[in-house]
């Protein structure tokens, strides 16, 4: 009836954050900036994808849908300088497409500014879902991304200032940068 006393030694492995979802770096972070045109800037697309076949669609139809692989991925996307918004995300269900509109949510809007490494947040599509709903979230991970870039691609941060450019204000990166 009674549960025995809890095991004497609780062994817990305390892992650094990124270790849980190892980051894959989609393109050559060292050189992609070299191919920027004069009216372009870099957008750092951060995705954590737990289902197959996900694609993200900007409201700007001239940009092809972005189809991240499973897992965490950081990808540099060259975009024309200007304002953007994620219009929808497609998460297929069985063989049917499933599209969630994001167009009416201001937090999916962002700006791509010249000479900046523009960032919006981690775009998450969860594994769990129901027939009529999916788990899609935008999670601001500026501190984590900054640390990852400092460790793996410091040259990129030397060249471009990492900037949070979402609709809602977030001063963290600027604050840290000014304090240095």
């Amino acid at each position: 009836m009674m549960r025995l006393a809890i095991s004497l030694v609780a062994v817990l492995q305390v892992l650094p954050v990124a270790a849980e979802n190892p980051v894959s770096w989609y393109n050559d972070f060292a050189s992609v900036a070299d191919t920027l045109k004069s009216n372009e800037a870099l957008f750092l697309l951060d995705t954590l994808t737990e289902r197959e076949g996900v694609s993200w669609h900007l409201t700007d139809k001239t940009v092809s849908p972005l189809k991240p692989p499973m897992g965490r991925q950081l990808r540099l996307v060259k975009l024309r300088v200007g304002k953007y918004a994620w219009g929808s995300v497609e998460v297929p269900y069985f063989d049917l497409p499933y599209r969630l509109s994001l167009a009416d949510q201001k937090r999916w809007q962002f700006t791509v500014a010249r000479d900046r490494l523009n960032y919006l947040g981690m775009q998450f599509v969860g594994e769990t879902r129901a027939t009529s709903s999916i788990d899609v979230r935008l999670i601001n991970r500026t501190a984590e991304v900054r640390a990852l870039l400092l460790e793996n691609h410091p040259e990129l941060l030397n060249r471009f200032e990492l900037t949070y450019n979402g609709y809602y204000p977030d001063d963290f990166l600027r604050f840290v940068s000014e304090a240095q």
Partner: protein
Amino acid sequence: MRQVFQALIPVLLLTCAAPIAVAADATFFSDERLSGFRLSPDGNQLAFVVDVEGGEEVRSIDLQTGAEAVLFATPLVGSENVTISAISWIDGTHILANVYALTEGVARLSDTRNRHHKLILNTADRSVRFIQTSGRVISTLPLEPDKLLMSVMASTSYVYKIDVTKLTVWGQKLKKTAKVDGGQFSRANRIAEIDGFAFNWLADGNGSIRAVMHWSQDEGVQLSTRDDMSSIWEVQASWREKNNRKKRSRQALIAADLEATEYRLLSLVPNSSDFLVLSKGEGGRQALLQLSLAKGTTETIYEHPQAEILGVNFHRTSGQLLSAHYFDSGYIGQHYFQEGPSQVAQLAAAEYPRHRTLVVGMDNEQQRYAVLVYANNDPGKLIVYDLPNRLALHTQSLAPALDGLKLAPSTSGKVDVEGTPVEYFLTRHESADPMPLIVYPHGGPFGVVDDRQYDPAVQYLAAHDFAVLQINYRGSGGYGSEFLEAGKGEYGDMMLADIEAAVSAAITGGGIDAERMCLLGDSYGGYAAIMLALRNPERFRCAATFAGVYDLGLFLGRLEDASRKAVVELFIGNTDEATLRENYDRLKALSPLYQLESLAIPVMITHGNDDRQVDIEHALRMETRLKQLEKPFTVQYYPDIGHGFDSPETYFHHMRAVTNFITEHTAN
């Protein structure tokens, strides 16, 4: 050889002593609990819910023989995330168990669903039947064995009388010709219906449905009554929120209309057309009232001088009002309306003079009573009393794993903060010397409350010779709507002032070493801990947090656009005139992350990687800034941990680390 043996003795002592100490410490975090006690109508059986390894069980004890039986175990309906929310006796043989099972749709072919199972447990033959049709059991018809009333809510709502012996046995394959639930959800078994979504049906003592609260998009919430089963419904009162109703979901409209209703309907008054309701009393607190729709009057039945009435209990067969309960100085208090429960409470109080007593059940004849006795240093017991013989028939520990532990008592105090009374609890073992203090504000912050029931973290810290201070600052639950309202807009201001005042009052009370104080908090408590460290640079020696909120602007990032305004208002008050940027700047000014230059004490930051309420980014930002400022800190990230600890082992691991950290920084 002897020398070798002598040299081994201290080693053996060390290796033996350490695990024993750890085992005792870990026991504080055992989650084995007994709850949901229900005495059978004949008073011969006691049913309850037990947490066990891998799930929960419903068990019964035969009070004559002492024989215990497992009636249901949650693995029957799912392997994990299964909880038994409530049990109740239908008659002398059957128990209704409400079971929730969350099935996560991780594979392509499954959905994420929270299934609600209504199970009928037979204590005689141990069979388990179930109700497949969606709906709510509204009455167990004590005068008709095997029967219950169940409502089905839709644009037209119905009540059916169901015979539980005709339901399908769980796990038994239904024959092709068999009907779901024995075909009982049919017109023949329908005993009431009304247009609209009905959410509160009231039956009289004969099982006749006489009143209903229902909702429709056009009319809002309405209260309808009828004299007997054959008469038609008459609308007696209606409530409808007046704001713009266009472009709002049905759920939002129902919630808004419910907010506008004045009464929470409890029961029909026997032999009368009046209702017992919970509503605002003369003192402005939620009170128990008798509502007469015919006269258009309300009469106060019971109003507590300080506390809001949270709920009431009725006798199963007579419908007599037995007791009302309320939150009182960290405990649930009870007011008795009948002699029987009052006498049995006195009987228990005489036997356990330092405990609180709660009468939680009785048999139909009001001879046998189930009584909870508990104290701030005792998780408690359930005692079945035979009242005529003044005899305790059965005593059951609520947390058997904790029985051998010496737990610390707590005292309560109140401090006036600019006209607002703030209650606090101080837990500590007796000591001749002043003790170091851990200030431990709760999370939430809105509507959450610390009580004086067993808290593993508090008792674990007390066992390590700390005094622990918990504070129900303004905005906490349990103290009424006015106190809750007082917290709005005070997230980073008066809530913190309340905690500071409670610390001063606790020190004034004596027995505290004011030179050795640390802060500890989870979620909002973590926010408060860092903010208090910043506001009082000389007062505290260290701060430890779990799942803390450190950047209020970032915290809003997880919210849908529509929710943001309400949350910002909750945090910083009226924001109507302010721009997005101005609001952000106000939140930033209240965020500890942007003030860490003045942090003067070491901090320990702990966060779960899987926290969906307060994202781990909060901790990562703290880590970034603390490193940049070269402040003393430690940080620990737990994989697969969300906004709380769901395993006793992990909780213990965390609290042991916290205790070591605080011990180091409060050393003389």
